[in-house]
């Protein structure tokens, strides 16, 4: 049995934040859960996916975040509890549905989880999605710890049902990827059977209806504010004339700081966990009891701007600070020492930060950027395309997935990246604005997510470009989740259909379609050359299973290679492929037999045929 299904209320478990959130949804009796995977949210859905196989609730990997939100919205409008989770930029994809769903509202509780990523550990931006709450006029809650996250999920469902609106649950990476001790609660069995009652005057927002719905939304927002002012998740800690207002992980840092600075009796903390709409009355009362207030929030000055306007409304003259050149930045994430230092300086108390060692005599340590795995098919495809495009003035728009790493030298295959699916759309613009050869890369999952629309555009407007679809049979980057092109039988799962990328591309009327097997290097280079020479839209589908995924499925036949003494030390292999299985020892190339899986790409490019299978490797 999946550990998160344990029916032992009171039992304590060490859980990852994302596990705690999945458990919270399960305890709340979620009936329908949907997602498009994205770090740092992915383990929530991974756990729910696994749990759903042994439980009554429905789970799906949807094609993209917008679809996933629509699925959850309809389920909630049929009266069951639904949960939809995504990374912060996924909210941008879902935003069209999201903004109007706020007008429609829900019947059963609906929680939308947005996993924000301050510092961009694995994201292309660090947008602060609290603004989505404000933008849509929907309630937003955000936990400060792993244990609180689980409880807050349940609260979010109840709040959603009370207000008949979806509730946003915002996390940051340090909640998602922290572990803490969590006490299991009782499990509410899910009510999985819904019924949709027709109500077009509230659920079909043509202008005349929508005008009324906006009135309803604002009314709800007011009610939400009253609830926020009473909410157990907005609370005051400690006592004193100095005030701190904080949210999320900053709360823990602030608490530790006050203890360290021995200010526990001089300063009080207002912890905001229900942060949209902000509880105006509660904050105003708090301000009245303070001589100065520091606002500690990662990201944008979301609370700060509101708090300052509350102070203005009350004609309060106290000092309120937050984002400031000498205090907190809008950039990146905070850490305990930074918070302690800023509290001390704002409140004029002495603090000596820990001494950091002098590192001036430490030699530069070589970087260790992530790299495509040994035997990754993307490396082969990049090499092939690069050879085939030799002499061409190229632009390589790329997309989001493991293959984004191909932009690093020595492959250097990635010139322009915006967001999921954008390689296809951007290629059309490059084709319109330049005479350069446009060769875009997109993964299978990303193609289904939002690449198809770009390709349709390319065919319709007759652009001149080549789209390389890297089909490795899984959503590799986020942890090998299924996508519509995946063979679900391989995972032992029935009841799914598989969509063939080739059939889709054919149906769109793409005039030149080439399928390659990237581990056949020479043959592929020839085929790719032909595709690149084609004027108009050409699509290359590069088919080879993700090595790491194959390892997990136990279908990978490992057959390591080694470098024989025919090697003349040109180092083409290492310099052009940069496979992590290569090691340079005394200026000679060696292959680590524990890392090499035997894709044989290097063996095919060695001019001396010096790379051969290692016999007798057990």
């Amino acid at each position: 049995m999946h550990k998160l299904l344990t029916n032992q209320p009171g039992e304590k478990m060490l859980l990852l934040g994302n596990e705690a959130i999945a458990r919270g949804a399960f305890e709340a009796g979620v009936a329908v859960a949907s997602t498009y995977p994205g770090t740092p949210s992915s383990e929530i859905s991974l756990n729910l996916f696994q749990m759903s196989h042994e439980s009554d609730f429905y789970f799906e990997y949807s094609t993209n975040e917008k679809v996933s939100l629509e699925v959850a919205a309809a389920a909630a409008n049929s009266g069951v509890r639904s949960f939809c989770m995504m990374k912060h930029v996924g909210m941008n994809v879902a935003a069209d549905a999201f903004m109007t769903l706020a007008y429609l509202g829900v019947k059963g509780g609906m929680v939308i989880l947005s996993a924000d990523d301050p510092f961009m550990f694995s994201s292309q931006n660090e947008q602060d999605n609290r603004y989505y709450g404000k933008f849509a006029g929907l309630p937003l809650v955000e936990p400060s710890s792993v244990a609180e996250a689980k409880e807050m999920v349940k609260y979010a469902f109840e709040l959603s049902e009370k207000l008949q609106e979806p509730v946003i649950f915002r996390t940051t990476t340090r909640i998602n990827h922290s572990n803490g001790i969590v006490e299991l609660g009782p499990i509410t069995p899910p009510q999985t059977q819904g019924y949709f009652k027709k109500d077009p005057m509230n659920l079909v927002p043509v202008p005349a209806v929508a005008r009324n719905l906006h009135v309803k939304l604002l009314k709800n927002l007011k009610l939400a504010e009253e609830i926020a002012a009473q909410s157990e998740y907005n609370f005051i800690d400690g006592d004193g004339e100095l005030g701190i207002i904080c949210n999320g992980v900053s709360y823990g840092y602030a608490k530790d700081a006050l203890k360290e600075l021995k200010l526990e009796n001089k300063a009080k903390i207002l912890r905001i966990g229900f942060s949209n709409p902000l509880p105006a009355s509660l904050i105003k009362d708090f301000l009245k009891g303070c001589t100065k207030v520091l606002i500690i929030e990662e990201g944008e000055p979301f609370m700060e701007e509101a708090v300052k306007s509350f102070a203005f409304e009350e004609k309060l003259g106290l000092t309120i600070k937050g984002k400031d050149e000498t205090l907190f930045s809008r950039l990146y994430e905070f850490d305990p020492v930074m918070v302690t230092k800023n509290i001390a300086s704002f409140l004029d108390v002495a603090y000596t930060p820990p001494e950091v060692p002098d590192l001036s005599d430490v030699p530069e340590i070589p970087q260790r950027p992530p790299n495509l795995c040994a035997g990754c098919s993307h490396r082969a495809t990049f090499y092939i395309v690069k050879q085939a495009a030799k002499g061409m003035d190229t632009i390589y728009p790329t997309d989001i997935g493991c293959y984004t790493l191909g932009f690093l030298p020595p492959l250097s295959m990635g010139d322009f990246l915006v967001c999921m699916g954008a390689s296809a759309g951007a290629s059309c613009g490059f084709s319109a604005a330049t005479d350069q050869k446009v060769i875009a890369f997109i993964g299978d999952s990303t193609f289904f997510h939002s690449g198809i629309a770009g390709l349709v555009n390319a065919v319709f407007n007759n652009h001149n470009l080549t789209l390389v679809i890297l089909d490795n049979g899984t959503t590799a980057m986020t942890g090998h989740q299924p996508n519509p092109g995946v063979e679900m039988e391989k995972l032992g799962l029935e009841g799914y259909n598989r969509i063939s990328i080739k059939a889709v591309v054919e149906a769109l009327g793409v005039p030149k379609i080439t399928v390659i097997k990237p581990f056949k290097v020479r043959k592929s280079i020839k085929a790719v050359k032909e595709a690149l020479d084609f004027k108009g839209v050409s699509v290359i589908i590069s088919e080879e299973i993700c090595t790491l995924y194959a390892k997990g499925l136990k279908t990978l036949k490992v057959r390591p290679f080694h470098i024989t003494d025919k090697c003349k030390n040109h180092k083409n292999c290492i310099n052009e492929l940069a496979c992590p299985a290569f090691i340079l020892e005394n200026d000679r190339v060696r292959i680590d037999p524990d890392l090499c899986v035997g894709c044989a790409v290097c063996a095919q490019i060695c001019p001396e045929n010096a790379i051969l299978p290692l016999k007798n490797h057990e």
């Binding site: 304590k12 478990m13 060490l14 770090t39 740092p40 550990f121 694995s122 710890s145 990476t173 340090r174 990827h177 922290s178 572990n179 803490g180 001790i181 992980v249 709360y251 823990g252 840092y253 608490k255 530790d256 850490d335 305990p336 020492v337 930074m338 930060p353 820990p354 001494e355 950091v356 060692p357 002098d358 590192l359 005599d361 430490v362 030699p363 530069e364 340590i365 070589p366 970087q367 260790r368 950027p369 992530p370 790299n371 495509l372 795995c373 493991c402 790493l405 030298p409 020595p410 790491l548 290492i574 310099n575 940069a578 496979c579 992590p580 290569f582 090691i583 340079l584 190339v589 524990d594």
Partner: protein
Amino acid sequence: MDVTRLIIVAVGGQGNLLSSRVLGEAALLAGIPVRMSEIHGMAQRGGVVESAIVFGDAESSIISDGCADVLVGFEPSETLRAVNKCSKDTVVITNMTPLPPFTVAIGRGVYPDLDQLQTLVKQKTARLIAFDAAALAKEAGNVLSVNMVLLGALIQTGILPLTAEQIKEAIRTKTKKAFVETNIKAVDLGIAAAAQS
């Protein structure tokens, strides 16, 4: 209860997250408050994996520069890279088996000299325990048990509020049955190695 802060750095695939998990489970069994935070976005793709583990009465789950009481490095150059987390009071434990990043292989950087590396870490911290954990892992019967060898060394220092028995209990109850025996052997070899250094 006093707060103890531990940083573990490793290269993706070295089993760092399992060792943090064992420590966390051991703390749970012992009734010691624990919070851990890990960054593992692209870990499987050969990047650096860092875990921060805070034992005792604190709310934070991350550790600022200069604040680690103990640093465990699974790879020597990563240990050196993480020295900014240390102070002159920090105890450092490191495996000495290098795993040069591929940037070295393609001529973008030079791997640090191991003797110089040890001297530097010693100069900047309270104590360095450095040994070949990979060899001991092999001796224990599984090359992948470097993580357990280092856990043993960590426990031997007595810095954590945990005993060797509690760690072993966590290994017995929370890790894959098939590896329990080699893992415990690896812990014992780590304990012995740290005792000798």
